[in-house]
C-alpha cells in the first residue's frame, strides 16, 4: 500500500536532543526529515527518521510512547519549547504533521525538570509521580470487602467533577511546563479525584497531607503561573489546585488528635 496521493508532504529540519546516558553530556543533533506526509503523526515522522538513521548505520533516537492514542501518558516531548507541542489539549502522539509548515525547523527536547532525570535521548524518569500516589492516592479497601455499588448514591455533578480530575494521564507535562518544575496539577488531580467522592472521605485528610508532603520532597513549589494548565493535554482545571490547597490546610487541623470529633 502506498500513501494517499492527495496528501501534501513536508520537508523539515529537526534539532533533536541526543544524550547517551544519564551521566553523559548531551547536545542537539541536526537531522533532516524529508517527504513527510501531512497525514502522519509526529511520532510516525520520528519513526521514519529512525528508519533512515538505522539505514545509515546510526543509532536511532530513543523516545517514550505506547498507546499512540493520547491515553497512556507515555509520550512526552518538548516540541519547539512547548510540552506536547503547539496544539492545545493534544498529546505528542496525537499531534499530526499537518500542523507544521514545510521548511520549518523543529526543536525536540526531553521533559526538562530536575526531578525527571534524563535516561537517554528524549526518555526521562518520571517515577516520582508514582511515589506521590503511593503516599496516599488510593482508597483503602481490600478486595471483596465492598458494599453494593448502588448503596451510596453519588450526585452526578460530584461524580463528573471527580471524573474530570481522574482524566489525568500522568504524562508529567505540567511539571515540564512549569518554570519551577512543580507537580501541583498532577497531585491535585490525583487527590481530588478521590477527595470529591463520598468513598474518599474517611482518608481525606490523611491523604491530603501525605500526598502534598511527598510531592514537596520531589518537586519545586507552585507560584501560580498556570503554565501547567496550558500544557495539560487533558485540560485539568486549575481549580483542583485550589481545592488541594484548601484540603491540605484543613488536614493540618483535622489530623490532630481531635480528628473525627466534629
Amino acid at each position: 500500500m502506498s500513501g494517499n496521493p492527495d496528501a501534501k508532504t513536508l520537508d523539515l529540519t529537526l534539532k533533536v536532543w541526543r544524550q547517551e546516558g544519564p551521566d553523559a553530556p548531551g547536545s542537539f543533533q541536526t537531522i533532516p526529515a524529508k517527504d513527510i506526509s501531512e497525514d502522519m503523526s509526529f511520532l510516525e515522522m520520528l519513526d521514519i527518521v529512525n528508519e533512515n538513521l538505522i539505514a545509515d548505520g546510526e543509532v536511532p533516537i530513543e523516545f517514550d510512547h505506547d498507546c499512540r492514542e493520547g491515553i497512556c501518558g507515555t509520550c512526552n516531548l518538548m516540541i519547539d519549547g512547548r510540552a506536547h507541542g503547539p496544539e492545545k489539549a493534544t498529546t505528542t502522539c496525537q499531534l499530526h504533521m499537518r500542523k507544521f509548515e514545510t521548511g520549518a525547523e523543529v526543536v525536540i527536547e526531553p521533559w526538562r525538570a530536575k526531578s525527571f532525570p534524563i535516561i537517554k535521548d528524549l526518555v526521562v524518569d518520571r517515577s516520582p509521580l508514582d511515589r506521590i500516589v503511593e503516599a496516599g492516592g488510593y482508597i483503602s479497601i481490600n478486595t471483596g470487602a465492598a458494599p453494593d455499588a448502588n448503596l451510596i448514591p453519588v450526585p452526578k455533578d460530584t461524580s463528573d467533577a471527580a471524573m474530570d480530575a481522574a482524566a489525568c494521564i500522568g504524562c508529567g507535562a505540567c511539571v515540564a511546563a512549569c518554570p519551577n518544575s512543580a507537580a501541583q496539577l498532577f497531585t491535585a488531580a490525583k487527590m481530588q479525584h478521590l477527595n470529591l467522592l463520598p468513598q474518599g472521605q474517611p482518608e481525606r485528610w490523611r491523604r491530603s497531607e501525605a500526598m502534598v508532603e511527598t510531592m514537596e520532597d520531589f518537586f519545586g513549589s507552585c507560584t501560580n503561573h498556570g503554565e501547567c494548565y496550558e500544557a495539560c493535554p487533558k485540560e485539568i482545571s486549575l481549580d483542583y489546585i485550589a481545592y488541594m490547597n484548601r484540603d491540605y490546610a484543613m488536614s493540618k487541623f483535622k489530623n490532630r488528635k481531635l480528628a473525627g470529633r466534629n
Binding site: M1, C67, D130, P153
Partner: protein, 639 residues
C-alpha cells in the same frame, strides 16, 4: 502428553465455583507471608492479582516493561465493562450474562469458567466503585448503564469513553497501597524473557533491565503471567505499540500449551490506514454503531463526496442483509461484511479502504448537542487523526485487529500446563471461546485478578508450605541467563541491512492476508511456507544498532518480533487444522449458503492446545473436549 485435566468441578453450573472454593486447600493467614509470588504484568489482570494477593498476605514481586504500572495497555479500553447487576431491571441475571457469553463465543468456551466469570462480574462493579472509579451516574445518583455489542440488556458500566483508564487506575492505586506497605516489590522497565523450570515446575523468571541491560534471576513459589494479548502479530492493530507475546511464548517454549491461537478478533470500527508508515490503528468506539448507519456507494466507480450521493445510490449493506440486528450485528459479522464490500471495489476515502459510518441522521434526529455529548471526544479524535470534520462528512472506518481470544491454555484454577505457572487476563485463552463480546475483556481481566486467581493459587501453594523457592544461584537460572545474554549478543552482532520494524511490517502483511478476517486452506498453506522463509531472512538480515548495556528499543523489539514469527506459523497451523468456521475464525470453505460461519460441532467442539516440541519440529495439537450441559448449541443468526 495429552491435555492435562481442566479440573472442572462437578455439580450444578451455579454451584461449581462455590463448591470449589470450599473444597480447595487453604493457606492460613500467617503462612501466606511465607510464600513469594511473581506477577508479570500490571494491566487490569496483573495489578488486580498482585494487589489482592498482597492484601491476603502473600509476598509479591511484580514486573512491567512500562515505566509505571499504570501505563499498561488496559488503559486504552474505551467502551465499558459488563456486570450482571440488573440495575436497569431489564431482566438481566448472572445466568443471562453466562448464556450470552457462551453463545457470543460461538460455543467454543468452557461453560464452568464462563459462569464463574458472570458471578464475579457483580463483585467487580462493587469493588471498583468502592475504590473510587467514577462510573457514569444518573441524576438520582445511581449508576448508569448502556447496552453494548449486540446485548439485548443494558449491563455495561462505563466512565465516559475511558473505562479502561479508570479501572486500571483503581487497580493501580490498590497496588500502590501495597507497594507503600512494602508487601509488593515493583520492578519497572523490566522485561521477562524466560520462564525457569526446575523438576517440572515453575521456579521463577529471568528478566532484562531495559535501562542497564542487566539480565536478572527472580525466583518464587509461583509465577503468574498477566502479559496481555498478541494482536500486534499483525503489526497494525489497535493495541499499544509495545504489546507482544514474548512472556507467553517463552512459557510456551518451556512447556505451557498454547490454545486456539487462530481465534483473533477484528474490530469493525477503526480509522483506516493512511499510508505505509502508519504505526497503529485507532479504534472508534463501537457505541457509535448505536447511532450511526454504515454504508458504501452502490456504484463501483463512485467519486463524489458522500453528501452528493443520493439515498437510493447508497448501499446500507448491514441493514439490508440483517434486518433484525442491522448495524448492531456482532463484531465478526460487521467486519467481514466491510471487507466484502471493500474487496468489491466499493471502498471510500482516498485509498478506497473504508466504509462510511454516518451519523447525519442521528444529528438531525437528536440534535447536534446530544450527539456531541455522547461522542464529542471520539469526533475530536477522528478529526485530529484524519483532518476531516465528522460533523460535516461521514466518518470512514475499516476493521482492524483488536483482541486475541487465544492464549496460554489454563485449567479451571487458571494454571497453565506447567505446575506453578498461571496465566490471567488476555494472556490466557479461557472465557471468550472463538469470539469476545464487547465490554467483556475488562470484566475477565478483573475477575481473574481480583476474584479467581488469588484463591485458586492457594490450592497449589498449600502443598509447598515449609519449602523455600528455588535459589537463584541454582544452575537452572544460570543457564537461562546465559541463554538470554547470548541471544542479545547474537542480535547485536548481526549487522544486517533492514530494521526490526521493516520485518515486523512484512510479517504483519502475511498474517493479515492469510490469517486475517477470512482464511482458506490454500492461503494458510502459503503462510506455513512463507512465514518461516521470511523468518530465516529476518534472522540473517535484521539490523539491530546500538549496544546491550543501555536503553535500546531495537534490541527490545527484535526478540519480540522473533517470537511473533513463531506464533504466526502456529496460528496458520491452528487455522488450517480447524476445518470449520466459528466466531472470529472464518474459513471460506465452511460457510452457510447465506455466507455465515458454519461450525462443525461433531468434529471441532474442542479447544486446540498446542505443545511445543522444539524449534525445528511441528508442534503437537491436543484436544480438550468441550461439554455443553446448560447452553444448547445453535447456529448463530442475526437476520
Amino acid at each position: 502428553m495429552t491435555v492435562p485435566d481442566a479440573k472442572v468441578p462437578a455439580g450444578d453450573i451455579g454451584e461449581k465455583w462455590t463448591n470449589h472454593k470450599f473444597s480447595m486447600k487453604l493457606v492460613n493467614p500467617n503462612n501466606k507471608r511465607k510464600f513469594e509470588v511473581i506477577v508479570v504484568g500490571t494491566g487490569l489482570a496483573g495489578a488486580a492479582a498482585a494487589a489482592t494477593m498482597s492484601e491476603l498476605g502473600y509476598k509479591v514481586k511484580v514486573f512491567t516493561f512500562h515505566d509505571s504500572p499504570r501505563r499498561a495497555h488496559s488503559i486504552a479500553a474505551q467502551g465499558g465493562i459488563n456486570g450482571a447487576k440488573n440495575y436497569q431491571n431489564d431482566g438481566d441475571s448472572i445466568y443471562r450474562l453466562f448464556y450470552d457469553t457462551v453463545k457470543g463465543g460461538d460455543y467454543r468456551s468452557r461453560e464452568a469458567n464462563v459462569h464463574r466469570l458472570a458471578e464475579a462480574s457483580v463483585d467487580i462493579i462493587d469493588q471498583a466503585t468502592a475504590q473510587g472509579v467514577p462510573f457514569a451516574r444518573e441524576y438520582g445518583g445511581l449508576l448508569d448503564n448502556r447496552s453494548f455489542g449486540g446485548a439485548q440488556v443494558s449491563r455495561t458500566f462505563y466512565a465516559r469513553g475511558q473505562t479502561g483508564q479508570q479501572l486500571l487506575l483503581g487497580a493501580y492505586q490498590a497496588l500502590a497501597r501495597q507497594i507503600a506497605v512494602g508487601n509488593v516489590e515493583l520492578f519497572t522497565r523490566s522485561e521477562m524473557l524466560d520462564l525457569v523450570i526446575k523438576d517440572g515446575e515453575a521456579a521463577g523468571i529471568v528478566t532484562r533491565d531495559l535501562l542497564t541491560g542487566e539480565v536478572q534471576a527472580h525466583s518464587g513459589h509461583a509465577v503468574v503471567l498477566a502479559t496481555g494479548g498478541y494482536g500486534n502479530v499483525y503489526y497494525l492493530s489497535t493495541n499499544a505499540m509495545a504489546c507482544n507475546v514474548t512472556a507467553a511464548w517463552r512459557a510456551h517454549r518451556k512447556g505451557a500449551y498454547f490454545a486456539n491461537p487462530c481465534y483473533t478478533q477484528i474490530h469493525p470500527t477503526c480509522i483506516p490506514a493512511s499510508d505505509e508508515f502508519q504505526s497503529k490503528l485507532t479504534l472508534m468506539s463501537e457505541s457509535l454503531r448505536n447511532d450511526g448507519r454504515i454504508w458504501v456507494p452502490r456504484d463501483l466507480d463512485e467519486n463524489r463526496a458522500a453528501s452528493q450521493i443520493a439515498e437510493d445510490e447508497r448501499y446500507y449493506y448491514l441493514e439490508e442483509k440483517y434486518p433484525a440486528f442491522g448495524n448492531l450485528v456482532p463484531r465478526d459479522v460487521a467486519s467481514r461484511n466491510a471487507k466484502t464490500v471493500v474487496d468489491q471495489g466499493r471502498g471510500v476515502g482516498p485509498l478506497k479502504n473504508g466504509v462510511y459510518l454516518d451519523l447525519t441522521e442521528a444529528i438531525g434526529r437528536d440534535g447536534i448537542e446530544t450527539i456531541t455529548e455522547k461522542y464529542g471526544n471520539l469526533f475530536d479524535m477522528y478529526e485530529r487523526i484524519t483532518g476531516e470534520n465528522p460533523y460535516e462528512r461521514p466518518m470512514r472506518i475499516y476493521p482492524a485487529t483488536h483482541y486475541t481470544m487465544g492464549g496460554l491454555w489454563v485449567d479451571y484454577n487458571l494454571m497453565t500446563s506447567i505446575p506453578g505457572c498461571y496465566a490471567i487476563g488476555e494472556a490466557n485463552f479461557s472465557d471468550h471461546g472463538a469470539n469476545r463480546l464487547g465490554a467483556s475483556a475488562l470484566m475477565q481481566g478483573l475477575a481473574d485478578g481480583y476474584f479467581v486467581l488469588p484463591y485458586t493459587i492457594g490450592d497449589q501453594l498449600a502443598a509447598k508450605l515449609g519449602t523455600d523457592p528455588v535459589s537463584t544461584s541454582d544452575p537452572v537460572f544460570a543457564e537461562s541467563i546465559a541463554g538470554i545474554e547470548d541471544e542479545s549478543k547474537r542480535w547485536l552482532s548481526n549487522k544486517g541491512t533492514k530494521s526490526v520494524d521493516w520485518y515486523h511490517r512484512e510479517l504483519g502483511k502475511l498474517v493479515w492476508d492469510y490469517i486475517g478476517m477470512e482464511r482458506d486452506s490454500a492461503g494458510l498453506e502459503k503462510a506455513i511456507t512463507e512465514i518461516p522463509t521470511l523468518k530465516s531472512e529476518f534472522e540473517k538480515d535484521v539490523n539491530v544498532p546500538g549496544s546491550g548495556d543501555n536503553l535500546n528499543s531495537s534490541l527490545e523489539k527484535v526478540g519480540r518480533v522473533a517470537d511473533f514469527f513463531e506464533l504466526a506459523e502456529l496460528m496458520a497451523r491452528d487455522a488450517l487444522a480447524r476445518e470449520e468456521s466459528c466466531g472470529g475464525h472464518f474459513r471460506t470453505e465452511h460457510q452457510t449458503e447465506e455466507g455465515e460461519a458454519k461450525r462443525d460441532d461433531d468434529n471441532f467442539r474442542h479447544v486446540a492446545a498446542w505443545e511445543w516440541t522444539g524449534p525445528d519440529s511441528t508442534q503437537t495439537r491436543h484436544k480438550e473436549e468441550l461439554e455443553f450441559e446448560n447452553v444448547a448449541l445453535t447456529q448463530r443468526s442475526y437476520k
